[in-house]
Amino acid sequence: MADAAAPREPRRSVGRPGDRPGGDRRGDGRSVIGRPGVGRPGVVWALPGALFFVFFAVAPMVLVGALAFTDWDGIGTPSWTGMSNWSRLWDDPETHQAIWLSLVLTVLTWVFQTPLALLLGVWAAGRQRNRAVLSAIFFLPLLGSSVALALVWKSLLDPNFGLIADIGPALGFADGDLLGSSKGAFGAILFVTAWQFIPLHTLIYQGGARAVPRSLYDAAAIDGAGTVRQFFSITLPQLRNTIVTSSVIMVVGALTFFDTVLILTKGGPGTDTTIVPYLMYKNGFQAFDLGYASAVATILVVVATTVSLLLVRLTGFAAMRSTREGM
């Protein structure tokens, strides 16, 4: 579309600091546009979307911190109680356990899912026909809701009628009651969530690997680098940003697995799979102690926001590059 002879403009980030709305063109010699603002929307165009988002997502994030200092049963008005939720949280062994379990689950999720998704994604970025078919099947778990998929696994792990009744003994669960044992239940959550989400990360890596310039591989092949060497010297470094993005999605996801826990284990046996989001649900919407539950939720907000800031910093999204440039 662009005239090849005409010098291409550099891609500009919108509104660099110092730009004034409707102001001058910073003398870049491209002032084809007669009046400033013609053909350009004002910021008011973004306000409906921004206000809607702030009202239902950002403001609640702030509000949850405030509710953490109140006592509220979900019906009346929240009443201010100062630090009492926090001192209770500080002393509550169930909360300590939940935070610990969440951390372990998050770390194991990353360790478990990242290498698998990375390898599958890079492999699927190849171009043989069977890969297209296989990646289409890999993709299927993404279509079901967490609820639907957890129900499938719940029936497979049923000690009486499920698959686990047959293969349980081989895994060390003689009675097949995987979900009834503390380690088994935790492992099941780890496995089921990996089963569900590895396809998503595989796709993300597949997209990243496709964008690696082929010339790099050709050059490496001429230099005699084998497949393994190429993977470590070209693919991995080139996928740096993809790894960061996928990791952040994974970590935030692992901090918030809820549907799967609710259906597979209900936080049990005992409280051995009660991770932070489930603890919040239990305190808030089963015991109707929403003030205390808000304190629990605040932990999630703080961790997730920290991760989010890291995302913006590390991936360069803040520089507002197109994520699809060159794809």
Partner: protein, 282 residues
């Protein structure tokens, strides 16, 4: 937008046997539960208990499908379809206008707005569901479909804005300038230039927000109550009690809940996959 050049990850042309084997193993891990899921729906309850989940049904039956469809399933389906459609419409409208502003507006404010959405990418809905519950109650929307629609749509916005900003930034500056020379208003630029050239991004956003709304569970669980406002995921959760030991019936409900989105996937596969692939950056 230009078609993606065929850049391929690996340079080596020799088949990579270990990787191929690994992917076949993973195929088994992904495929086996899906096989059990589908096979069980044609199985009778006794057949499932006697023969185990791996058996092919001896006497395939559609009784499970009849049973589920005779329950309230269709009303859940209708509610979910409504919520999904309205959510997608809200998300498309708002993210197109936000994306357009972020890419084209002058000044710091639009940049700030984009940063709010980027930060919002990692706000987990679990963490804010209590204040959302408070807000919905105060708006007197509790136990309405709107109570689910509004927060669900809001949480679809960050990814959608990110995708659309990426797409819209790839539109040539020259096109904007020639429209501006004609004195086109921002509305005309949006409708005649930006929307037509961002079709692929817009359909990706539509498909992804629809998937998100269709599969949502937490907001329906906590913000609705009555059976008439029940959505599919919550209905599935209820079936656990209703079909207590009738696994084939339960799994049939699961299959029926995935089926509509699977049909959409067959048509919109490319959009969805492109969108998900574009999340990673390079």
């Amino acid at each position: 937008m230009p078609r993606r050049p065929r850049l391929v990850g690996r340079g080596s042309r020799t088949p990579n046997y270990p990787a191929g084997l690994g992917s076949l193993i993973w195929l088994g891990i992904v495929g086996l539960p899906l096989y059990v899921l589908v096979a069980a729906t044609f199985q009778t309850r006794d057949g499932y208990i006697d023969d185990g989940p791996l058996a092919l049904p001896d006497h395939p039956t559609l009784a499970n499908y009849r049973r589920v469809l005779r329950s309230d399933f269709l009303s859940y389906l209708l509610n979910t379809a409504l919520v999904t459609a309205v959510c997608a419409a809200i998300v498309i409208t708002l993210s197109v206008t936000v994306g357009y502003t972020v890419v084209r507006a002058r000044g710091r404010a639009s940049r700030r707005i984009f940063q709010i959405f980027l930060l919002g990418l990692a706000i987990p809905s679990q963490a804010v569901v209590i204040p959302v519950y408070l807000v919905i109650t105060k708006l007197q929307l509790y136990d309405t479909l709107l109570a689910v629609i509004l927060p669900t749509a809001a949480f679809s916005l960050p990814v959608s804005v990110l995708i659309l900003v990426g797409t819209m930034r790839d539109i040539d500056e020259e096109l904007y300038e020639s429209m501006a020379l004609d004195g086109a208003s921002p509305t005309r630029v949006l409708l005649q230039l930006v929307v037509p050239l961002s079709r692929s991004g817009i359909s990706t956003v539509g498909v992804m927000s629809a998937l998100h709304a269709w599969n949502g569970f937490l907001f329906p669980l906590l913000l609705t109550q009555s059976k008439s406002n029940r959505l599919l995921t919550l209905g599935l959760y209820d079936y656990v009690g209703e079909f207590r030991v009738d696994t084939p019936a339960l799994l049939t409900a699961v299959v029926l809940s995935i089926l509509p989105i699977f049909l959409v996937y067959l048509f919109a596969r490319r959009q969805l996959i492109n969108g998900l692939m574009g999340m990673g950056g390079k």
